[in-house]
Symmetry: C2
Subunit: 436 residues, 2 copies
């Protein structure tokens, strides 16, 4: 009997020059270059499958993220493959609780995003070897195995392993029905494409119209740089979309507490579906204070929430109406399963953050798993959609009529085409050389 091992963990600095067109511009991020610290895990198994994952950054510093992923390499190279993939909870704990590396976080920032990239790559590999898209692999796992993936340290005052098991177990008999619904109908999406701050009013108007025509029931606008601009842009969006389309707004952490409350009250006449990232992602008390002051206007956050411990507190404080997990900021699939279970326990809908590069590709799997196995509902749930950079992926997201179609290819949809990896390698790829 042969034993397969992990033979290599390649880490690439990939950057897309998105700032040239002001894609992704908001009140805090005027000119991002969407980037990936990209991981390819190779093995000596006969199937020659590779696992792909990445940490998403917005340009400068992607080399720091790459260095952090490389620091995890000794935990993986040489490791026996089958036991690792059979117990990704143990791998997660090894990576997160390394007693020296944890000083760099703990469980936050660059080092935690590195864990995310590596763990997600292992899930991609596991799903490819199982011949299933990740959402389906997860949605068919026994509840006991799913619970074993979670590190409950610092969670037990809000969610115990027994409670997690209960949530998962009660949905098992009806998992099959929901799988079929997903395959037939997909999952609701909303689009942020119209709303970047760098776009002029004509472009905003045109893109709002296109979003409605494409069947989206919700759009999102960036706000927070200038109140008069925000009011004008919301008025335009509301005119074009009509009263029945949901319009969410996103302040990208721009405000202090009292400023947030005043600004949100000024936007209230335009009926924002939610107000996203009103203040620092670290300020759980601040989010609670804002949520109480502006109720019933809904508060959402999550793309910069560093880990399950901060999400736990936001839920304990009733500070969120929508939880926006990110696939690649917290510790990958394992920690996101914990976050989905926390949200289910507290009855808060999860509406993942996406966009960037590859984030739509990843989060669709998490929301679909949530629908089949965790929350068991799509009510008030929707996944962010932004229409750029999908062409670089070998298994890009497919949206139709404002919905994500369920992925069918095996894996986590994380694979960027090899010619793209070479063209956008920073700083020597062709895409960067041509602008030197």
């Amino acid at each position: 009997m042969t034993t397969s091992r992990i033979t290599a963990v390649e880490c690439l600095d990939i950057r897309f020059p998105t700032s040239r067109e002001l894609l992704g511009s908001d009140a805090m991020n005027p000119d991002p270059d969407y980037s990936a610290a990209y991981v390819i895990i190779s093995t000596d198994a006969p199937d020659q499958a590779t696992g792909h994952g990445f940490a998403f950054t917005i340009g400068r510093g992607n080399e720091v993220q790459t260095a952090a992923i490389s620091a995890l390499r000794p935990y993986l190279v040489g490791r026996r493959l089958e036991p690792a993939l059979a117990d990704l909870g143990a791998v997660w704990r090894d990576l997160v609780h390394d007693s020296q590396l944890r000083w760099l976080g703990p469980e936050k920032g660059v080092i935690h995003m590195a864990v995310s990239a590596v763990i997600n790559a292992l899930w991609d590999l596991k799903a490819k070897r199982a011949g299933l898209p990740l959402w389906q692999l997860l949605a068919r796992m026994p509840p006991e195995e799913l619970v074993k993936l979670i590190d409950f340290r610092y969670l037990t005052d809000a969610l115990t392993p027994a409670e997690a098991l209960d949530i998962l177990t009660k949905n098992v008999p009806t998992r099959g029905e929901r799988e079929q619904i997903l395959i037939a109908e997909g999952y609701p999406a909303y689009t942020t494409t119209p709303g970047w701050l760098g776009y002029d009013d004509d472009k905003l108007r045109r893109l709002c119209r296109a979003a409605v025509d494409d069947g989206f029931a919700q759009i999102k606008l960036k706000v927070g740089a200038d109140l008069e601009d925000d009011l004008r842009r919301l008025r335009i969006a509301r005119e074009v979309c009509g009263p029945s389309i949901r319009i969410a707004v996103d302040a990208n952490q721009r405000w202090d507490i009292s400023q947030a409350i005043a600004w949100i009250e000024a936007l209230a006449p335009y009926d924002p579906w939610w107000v996203e990232e009103p203040t620092s992602p670290d300020d759980v008390l601040g989010h609670g204070a804002i949520a109480r002051a502006v109720a019933p206007i809904a508060i959402a956050t999550g793309e910069h929430v560093q880990n399950r411990i901060v999400f736990k507190q936001l839920l304990q404080l009733d500070a969120l109406s929508y939880l926006q997990l990110d696939a690649a900021r917290v510790g990958g699939v394992n920690e996101n399963i914990a976050i989905l279970l926390l949200a289910a326990k507290f009855g808060v809908p999860v509406c993942p953050h996406a966009g960037g590069v590859g984030l739509c590709e990843l989060v669709q799997h998490l929301s679909m798993f949530d629908f089949v196995a965790v929350s068991a509902t799509m009510e008030n749930r929707t996944i962010e959609y932004v229409d750029h950079l999908h062409e670089h992926f070998t298994d890009p997201v497919i949206t139709r009529g404002g919905r994500y179609m369920a992925p069918t290819a095996p894996g986590f949809s994380a694979t960027i085409a090899p010619h793209v990896l070479s063209a956008y390698a920073y700083p020597h790829g062709a895409a960067w050389k041509s602008h030197e």
Copy 2:
């Protein structure tokens, strides 16, 4: 008239093989190799002074920290020196709010510790050029200038610029008296030297005795790995020290909330002066719950608190009886001034975290500044002291009778001797080569 500029930002990976003797062993960190991602800022000014600073890590990953510091280099090299040193608040904002780098935090983990290293090096340079130890430089600055150093974003619900100015201004008339007290008497210290988990009972007994003989009024013991061990070690320490020496304990984030409460209640008969890091540094609600449950036993935390925003919430929740700022985890001197002012506003004593490598050297300046200009008292204040690695510094701390003597050399006491930098360079310095 000539203009001086910053000409180089050198960044070195320096590691001390402390794990060989179990220095620094605790419930979460069994074998740290105390390390510094070390920065030297050079200029073309005629005085040829250099600014030294560092991020402290515990070994693996120090290369990631070094990469993060290098990512800040473009903000500094070529910058005009005098305007930069005259407005370090502006430099801080440039570094922290770089719109792309901030994605790696924001304001936490590796990228924020990199800001700390660079900002502290600039303060070292400024103090050297002024011919003053940093504490004295800060303690003589006008309140208006100190307030300008602070980024009040996300703070104004707890501390406004006007409140900060009031706190500083009311102490101005008596600053001189307190400078003289410091120079004459120094500042209280406590020692963690006896308490590492890796030490056997005889060594614990011997080091407790030595601490009392050296004049320390407080010691600290690591706990949290095994309750029976903790009780035995506390009993030994209490026997040796007698009832009047304060014995603090430190769990290094080991517990969940209910576990923390039960464990602390079990330790209560030994009268712990404070219980440090009972749970995750990210769990402000958890700290609040523990503090309420175990009152009047005091809770302390801070060495892993990522920034002023989390400290703000701990204070708002009345979750801390002692605030343990770290000189090199949050964004350096500027952010620590904000934290000292927050603590003063809420009436909580600051007892800095130290030890590691060079942390004692740094924090003494912050506490002494606090005494002269911010809290204006030493009551219930004490600085951690650990007796290793000081010999590598050109201006090491001096303790006498359990007190830190006020530093007199110009600068921030951050300079490691050049021969040490070469001997402990990782992985090719002599100290590492000899153990290859």
